[in-house]
């Protein structure tokens, strides 16, 4: 008895217990399907981030702290010749109308000049804030002429409509030293190209005004996002006049656009694929029993999902999405069994059926086991989502294998008796000379391999989002107008407490000012230095004024008297030179316009403090930080481009490991199963052909390889090996079970089912479609023509006879 006789015995065993078999199978399927609604789904993209290095998840979390990640950016642009005052008025009107529940807050500007406390605060805290460089600047300004001019300005301003409150500033800061502090506020400007006018963010050309809105609508909530954006559009229709153009940029836009796009795509794709599969089944199988094959595929999916939900707390939506793609290969096992046992073929319902099962179980089991082994390599992936996907696929293929070899024969047997239609099968026909087939194949493969050298890999997860032209144009316009404030790199100064984090932040700020050239650096270091730095600043301040206070006093009194100031007009100023009563502390800073920025740039997490500094996301800055890590210890550089690069490397490495591992394992298993090198190599023909063809064509038409392509490639490997095994078994052994029809139908259903995704406009779905269409599209013909050509060329038995044709049985 061969090892595969076990399926003959199993078949015979359940012949007398068919009802029990059906009941058990039905119960398992029903439980699995019923449990689906209790599965906890996770849409967290983190499942696709490598977890073998803590860096990735930390960087990912830190990226979420970018100040504009979750905000709604509204740009109002006035036509040329328009009045910026009118633009500001419209912006204010719109901001006032943006109220809860959709909008929790709207910021038109930092509101600094509205809150005079900021000036008092700056004057009072200059001793804490002024650096040596600032003191040099003050020293240069303390000439008699400058003092005279400044006091003259002070005197005149007393008669302006603002003279009432300026009087107090003139008393405490007659030399306008607060200008030094005001310059420091520019380091808090998180929008590079913005200037302030009437407390509004105005573009350099004066034609744009910016509003920044906050909302409670979650960025993953497509319905809520659509309602919120619709509300904003309605408001703009009533408020924004002709001549002013409003554009909106937020993650919510992408959520809505992608959700709509996927809905549209699914309708198109499901319609195409469903119709195609129905047509294929009608054309090839012509009997309702074909539904049994589909039933096994869907049941395998449900059982796999149920099992995964028992193993893992949450099931990644990505696992389900990709898993359904991978399970596309489960139908080739059942199809192969189906074609072997197809209606009308079995004459003796007992003996022939069990013998055929024993025979067909060999390639099916080979294919299934090899696929499972290949998938098992996914369990060693650095990506948790890939590991879950591995578990899901292994269980799914196991279920499919068991149902195809044990359940399907009985289901077909139990449902026989009626008049079966004749299946459409490939029959013998005149074939091209084997040498020509092989030559064409080699040429094609060589060309694709040559072209595949230029394949690129895109690790940017955001690139897999659908971005319509309109949004892309808005992104570009915003970036050109305001600077790339949404795409800046972030440097985090990390400390165990606020003081240590601030010290690191001070060090970083000084370093960037000295080494980063003219790069715009956004940092709180200029307004909130560490206590250590403040102490040093104070000492320098005291020393600076002790050297020249008397001289300055004399000059000011003399010049002031000439203008008409009283003798003790500036007494408060000279008293303040002695320094403030206390140091600046983060918790005490509640100044309007500054507090918001501080809150967004000081991050409390896991018992430590991280302080954010933003810099342009350029290779130069990245290289600078990487080069001088020793000089600026305790900082962490994070940027979207850097993160993408790390992901690209990690996933690329993961993928290479998987491909090499899977190939090695498959070769080993094939060698063990076939014990014949030629059969092993020929079994790999569809896989190699599919992958090289896919790489070559993608490279040719400049489609970068991405994470979705990787998952789809696994499908090509799994299906390709199955096709190879089936065809090698057919060609090399005395085996007549319409294998090529099964391979063709499996390939066609896969191509139409998943290849139809190429019609999708969503990049992720489209990527899967491209991979499957190219890979399976090449694997199927190579299995059907190239493998037999090799056998025929050597005169193997079991090869195709000279005369074959397509006909109805």
């Amino acid at each position: 008895m061969s090892g595969f006789d076990i399926f003959r015995h199993l078949y015979n065993l359940f012949l007398r217990r068919r009802l029990a078999l059906f009941l058990v199978a039905a119960a398992l399927i029903i439980i699995s399907v019923a449990s689906l609604k209790y599965i906890r789904l996770s849409e967290d993209i983190k499942s696709m981030l490598p977890d073998n290095r803590k860096d990735f998840s930390i960087d990912y979390e830190l990226l979420q702290h970018a100040p504009f990640t979750r905000k709604i950016i509204i740009n109002l642009k006035i036509a040329s010749g328009g009045d910026v005052g009118e633009l500001i008025r419209v912006a204010d009107h719109l901001a006032d109308a943006m109220t809860p529940p959709f909008f929790t807050r709207v910021i038109a500007g930092p509101a600094v000049s509205q809150d005079m406390d900021i000036y008092n605060w700056l004057i009072k805290n200059l001793p804490n804030l002024a650096t040596d460089k600032d003191l040099e600047g003050i020293k240069a300004d303390l000439t008699t002429e400058n003092i005279r001019n400044q006091l003259s300005d002070d005197y005149n301003s007393l008669f302006s409509h603002e003279g009432w409150y300026l009087k107090n500033y003139i008393k405490s800061d007659p030399l306008n030293l607060k200008a030094v502090g005001i310059k420091k506020l520019s380091s808090l400007n998180i929008i590079p190209n913005a200037r302030l006018q009437d407390n509004h963010f105005i573009s350099a050309d004066g034609k744009n005004v910016l509003l920044i809105a906050e909302t409670n609508v979650d960025i993953t909530d497509a319905g809520g996002s659509e309602e919120m954006l619709s509300r904003l559009n309605n408001l703009s229709e009533g408020i924004v006049p002709q001549g002013i153009e409003m554009s909106v940029l937020s993650v919510h836009n992408y959520t809505v656009v992608n959700a709509d796009m996927i809905k549209d795509d699914l309708f198109v794709v499901l319609t195409i694929s469903s119709l195609s599969i129905i047509i294929l089944f009608i054309f090839f199988l012509r009997t309702w029993k074909a539904l049994l094959v589909l039933l096994i595929s869907f049941s395998s999916f449900a059982i796999a999902l149920f099992s995964v939900s028992l193993i893992y707390k949450t099931v990644s939506a990505i696992t389900i999405g990709f898993g359904s793609v991978l399970l596309g290969l489960s139908d080739d096992l059942s199809l192969h069994v189906y074609f072997a046992l197809r209606p009308g073929k079995i004459k003796n319902k007992t003996d022939d059926m069990s013998a055929i099962i024993a025979e067909v179980s060999r390639p099916v089991l080979f294919g299934g086991v090899i696929t499972i082994c290949a998938f098992s390599l996914l369990m060693f992936s650095a990506l948790p989502g890939q590991r879950q996907l591995g578990a899901f696929s292994i269980i799914g293929v196991l279920a499919s294998l068991a149902m195809s070899l044990i359940l399907l024969p009985h289901m077909m047997q139990a449902s026989s008796g009626g008049k079966d239609a004749h299946s459409f099968i490939l029959r013998e026909r005149r074939r091209t000379h084997p040498a020509i087939t092989i030559a064409i194949w080699i040429l094609l493969l060589t060309g694709c391999a040559w072209q595949a050298r230029h394949i690129s890999f895109n690790g940017n997860l955001n690139a897999l989002n659908f971005v319509p032209e309109k949004l892309r144009a808005i992104e570009l316009a915003m970036s050109e107008t305001w600077g790339n404030f949404r795409g800046q790199a972030m440097i985090f100064s990390e400390g165990k407490d606020m003081e240590s984090a601030l010290e690191i932040n001070d060090n970083l700020f000084r370093y960037l000012k000295q080494n980063a050239g003219d790069a715009d650096v956004t940092s709180i270091a200029s307004i909130l230095p560490s206590i250590k730095t403040q102490k040093a600043n104070r000492e320098a301040w005291t020393s600076f004024w002790s050297d020249r206070k008397d001289e300055i006093r004399r000059t000011m009194e003399e010049e002031g008297r000439r203008l008409g100031f009283s003798g003790n007009a500036f007494e408060a100023f000279f008293l303040s030179l002695n320094g403030p009563a206390s140091f600046i502390r983060a918790e005490d800073l509640s100044l309007s316009g500054i507090k918001d920025i501080l809150d967004s740039m000081i991050i409390h997490s896991d018992g430590k403090i991280s302080i954010l500094t933003m810099v342009p996301d350029t290779p130069e800055i990245k290289a600078l930080i990487a080069r001088d890590q020793d000089i600026i210890p305790g900082v962490r550089f994070v940027s979207q481009s850097y993160f993408s690069e790390m992901i690209r490397k990690a996933i690329g490495h993961d993928f290479i490991r998987f491909i090499i591992g899977a190939f090695s394992l498959i070769v080993l298993l094939l060698a063990f199963l076939f014990r014949n090198m030629k059969k092993v190599l020929l079994s790999l023909v569809p896989v190699v052909t599919g992958i090289i063809f896919m790489f070559g064509v993608m490279s040719l038409i400049h489609i970068p390889f991405n994470i979705f392509n990787i998952i789809s490639t696994i499908l090509i490997i799994g299906l390709g090996v199955d096709y190879g095994i089936f065809m090698v078994c057919k060609c090399s052994e005395d085996y007549e079970h319409d294998t090529d029809t099964a391979v063709l139908l499996s390939g066609l259903t896969t191509i139409t089912g998943f290849g139809s995704l190429i019609c999708a406009r969503h990049p992720a779905l489209h990527s899967i479609g491209v991979t499957v269409l190219l890979g399976i599209g090449a694997a199927v013909p190579s299995a059907m023509f190239v493998i037999p050509a090799f056998f025929k060329g050597k005169g193997n038995r079991g090869g195709y006879p000279d005369e074959r044709a397509i006909s109805n049985e």
């Binding site: 910026v84 008025r89 509205q114 006018q197 003798g567 500036f570």
Partner: protein, 212 residues
């Protein structure tokens, strides 16, 4: 922002110079009502005002009481131009909810939204309230006492505790015709005070369109 309270008072009206000592006793309420009614009636006929002013500053940081000069224009219901000419040129214009301001040459103006300029908003609102003789609005913020009837002299004491910290009172002296304010004195809590006298007032005269 507390200092803004003082500004609410500064430029209150166009208006005739005379700072006489306030009378000790407040007028009976019936007389006060009649005075308000007369002022309201006289103000109702005012469509435009134009004139010059002098501003006398008595501040502790100044050794003397310097006098600045300027001019102002008003047009009902919501146009105002306040312009200091000496010792330096500066000023602002309000027209509805928009405005312009300048420092130095008046052809180098900066536009603003009145809602975002609390200082100018408060000043202009006060001016408009007095021009309309809107006593209801004024009495919501001040205790108004009539110190004299010929001419009408009003003393405004802030009701807000916060405002009281900075402002002791304002005194307004109306013209003989009672259709505009002739002089204002603003007394700060710290002792500083400012006197503004309006001269050469023209009522309902033609104003150039581009003045606002």
């Amino acid at each position: 922002m507390k200092q803004l309270i003082l500004i609410t008072i500064i430029l209150l009206m166009p208006f005739n110079a005379l700072c006489q000592e306030p009378q000790d006793a407040a007028a009976p309420s019936s007389d006060k009502t009649q005075a308000f009614a007369r002022i309201r009636k006289a103000a109702s006929s005012v469509r435009t005002l134009a004139g010059e002013f002098t501003q006398e500053k008595h501040l502790d940081i100044l050794k003397n009481a310097p006098v600045s000069k300027g001019r102002f224009f008003y047009k009902t219901p919501d146009c105002l131009r306040w312009e200091v000419l000496e010792p330096a040129s500066m000023g602002f214009i309000v027209k509805g909810d928009k405005g312009k301001r300048w420092k130095g040459r008046s052809d180098n103006m900066q536009a603003f939204d009145l809602k975002k300029e609390p200082v100018i908003r408060i000043i202009s609102n006060q001016v408009f309230a007095w021009a309309r003789a809107d006593f209801e609005q004024l009495e919501s913020g001040y205790d108004i006492t009539v110190l004299g009837y010929s001419p009408v002299i009003l003393k405004l004491v802030p009701l807000s505790v916060t405002e009281k910290k900075y402002l002791a009172f304002i005194m307004l002296i109306f013209s003989a015709t009672e259709d505009y304010v002739n002089a204002i004195e603003i007394r700060e809590a710290g002792g500083d005070y400012t006197k503004i006298n309006f001269i050469d007032m023209v009522i309902n005269g033609p104003l150039q369109e581009d003045i606002f």
